[in-house]
Symmetry: C2
Subunit: 340 residues, 2 copies
DNA sequence: TTGTAGGCGTTATCAA
DNA sequence: TTGATAACGCCTACAA
């Protein structure tokens, strides 16, 4: 028989209410009785029953706000999928999810959303733009008792509850490892970056560089260009680079624009080039199956969405503070055979 | 406000008991009232609340039996870890887990365990040996109302609830894909199999062969030998093969014995050989970090354990039959950079 | 400072 | 065939 509040109450000769007050630090209890109760609870290894708590919490009607810079970015479809997969469970706890998306990385727009959503929710899951004003807004929310969990991109120097997402340096390093293995550790690499404005993309490139330098010193990085996450720009730039540097043997695409890059490579009759990319959107999956991308490094988008909501629920319902500061996703290597 | 049994009862003018009887097909209800209730429930989109069910289920004291052929096999440590990670959640539902392990693949021993555990549990998670007698025992349990979930190895032609584990053919194919990429699709491959008695290992080799044949026709499979999952046998056999076929350029290890294989390779001064293995035990992790194994293909052992228990809980507590026949794990490619 | 009682949603038992 | 009621474990408002 599991140990419950009721049982502890019987054993210590007090009422359930008193035990509850002690175990949840609600005060108004004689310190001697409190001590006695705490001792018994500890000895018996009391641990609150989640189902009971969940049921009791239903009366509170919590709301979780979710703000994502996801519009127009296929990658986030899976994140959203992971979030909506938790909707039923949240509903069972009487918690509702409020999702707001935005396009691009406009700080003012994100601030507006934070204020709007912050007014009606108890916790915010935020795809934070790395800007001091956003950091300030997070601490402001904290002051109002609204916790914040960052997702996909972290932000420094704030009291966010925790971060759920990728370690971009490691992600880039993994790409370098794969590329180095496939090309035999030798060659001329072009890097197709996304936008210089996005921290994660920069980190990927940095991680890629470092790993190449440390473990594959004979791989030369010939050039880096930017796709601006756009296929047409990607195609044009890749085409230019192939003409300027015909000795390119491999390309690392650290952001969106994969289809454009691959098109340029085809058009130049350079299917010998080894392409390694990031993430798995439907178009990337197709390119991998056609063997035009040799490998792509994924960051568990579905799990990001799911995990963030799970942590939020545990915090609101059971008062459980996340036990880690950063929940880092696995860097998954997908090739033709395991891309599904 | 979510729709509950109570609300449906009010709306249809009957008692909660009656609604419960209808919605859970317990019989003893006037067919007209039943129809009316079903209609209202459907219109309102009723879905039972898990917390409520969990709490009510506590009175039943369910037990889940878990039988694994895990003794002496490091791989299963992670599976067990995934299982014990669910222990608290199970306890919250009033469900206890009974784990029984065995060494090797003795059918008689497994039958004994099935009967022993079957006598005192409501559901069994079984690492099934692929033998007709075991199949028979599973159907016998079914007859007694004890559901069976197979884990890690499936068994054909039975009424098991579902399978949680790897698709070994795909797993082997992924190994072939990785090996093909790293070696440039050309070379002489030796296969280090485990034991011919284990279906999964045979399937891995088969998947490996097929994929190589289809996509890397210039990779020749020079020889196959068996490690019997033992490092010393592995070392001896690998040593023999290296001497008999000095033109070997790659080795695929489809089972345990990785350290032995790598030792023989080192001793023969053949660190140029590309080694691809399976799973990630601590010793494999070390070999990958030392670059003596280039890549290893994992099958989410932790998730196997966790998922099997999750499905079992949902089935017992909420009466939810798994929505898939097979829950197939991802084939994860781990290299130096993402092995952690 | 402490106890009592009711409710969250579901299920089971007993009475009608 | 149906309804009323208590129980699962927790929380909270109110009463003592």
């Amino acid at each position: 028989m599991a140990v419950t509040i009721k049982r502890i109450a019987e054993l210590t000769g007090v009422s359930r209410g008193t035990v509850d007050r002690v175990l949840n630090d609600r005060g108004n209890v004689n310190s001697e009785t409190a001590e006695r109760i705490r001792k018994v609870a500890k000895e018996l290894g009391y641990s609150p029953n989640r189902a009971g708590r969940a049921l009791a919490a239903k009366k509170k009607k919590y709301r979780i706000g979710i703000i994502l810079c996801s519009e127009g970015i296929e990658f986030f479809d899976e994140v959203l999928h992971g979030i909506s997969g938790m909707e039923q469970e949240a509903a069972d706890y009487g918690v509702s999810l409020v999702v707001r998306t935005m396009r691009g990385y406009n700080v003012g727009r994100q601030l507006d959303l934070i204020h709007e959503v912050g007014a009606e929710t108890n916790l915010i899951i935020l795809n934070a733009i790395n800007d001091p004003k956003i950091a300030e807004a997070i601490d402001e929310l904290n002051g109002k008792g609204i916790a914040v969990i960052t997702i996909n991109t972290d932000i420094e120097g704030t009291k966010r509850l925790c971060y759920v997402g990728s370690d971009y340096l490691r992600n880039g390093a993994t790409a370098a490892g794969v590329l180095g293995l496939i090309t035999g550790g030798k060659g001329n690499v072009a890097i197709a970056g996304g936008s210089e404005a996005i921290l994660g993309h920069l980190d990927r490139v940095e991680g890629f560089r470092q790993e190449l330098q440390e473990h594959f010193p004979e791989e030369k990085i010939s050039t880096i260009f930017y796709t601006e996450d756009d296929d047409e720009t990607a195609r044009r730039e890749m085409d230019r680079v192939l003409k300027e540097c015909p000795d390119i043997t491999a390309v690392y695409i650290s952001a969106a624009g994969q289809a454009g890059v691959c098109r340029a490579i085809s058009e130049n009759g350079r299917n010998d080039i080894c392409v390694v990319s990031c993430d798995r959107t439907p178009s990337v999956e197709k390119l991998v199956k056609e063997d035009r991308i040799r490998a792509t490094i994924c960051q568990q988008p579905y799990t990001q969405g799911k995990k963030a909501v799970e942590l939020a629920l545990q915090y609101l319902i059971n008062g459980i503070v996340p036990d880690k500061d950063r929940y880092i996703m696995k860097n998954e290597i997908r090739i033709r055979e395991n891309i599904e």
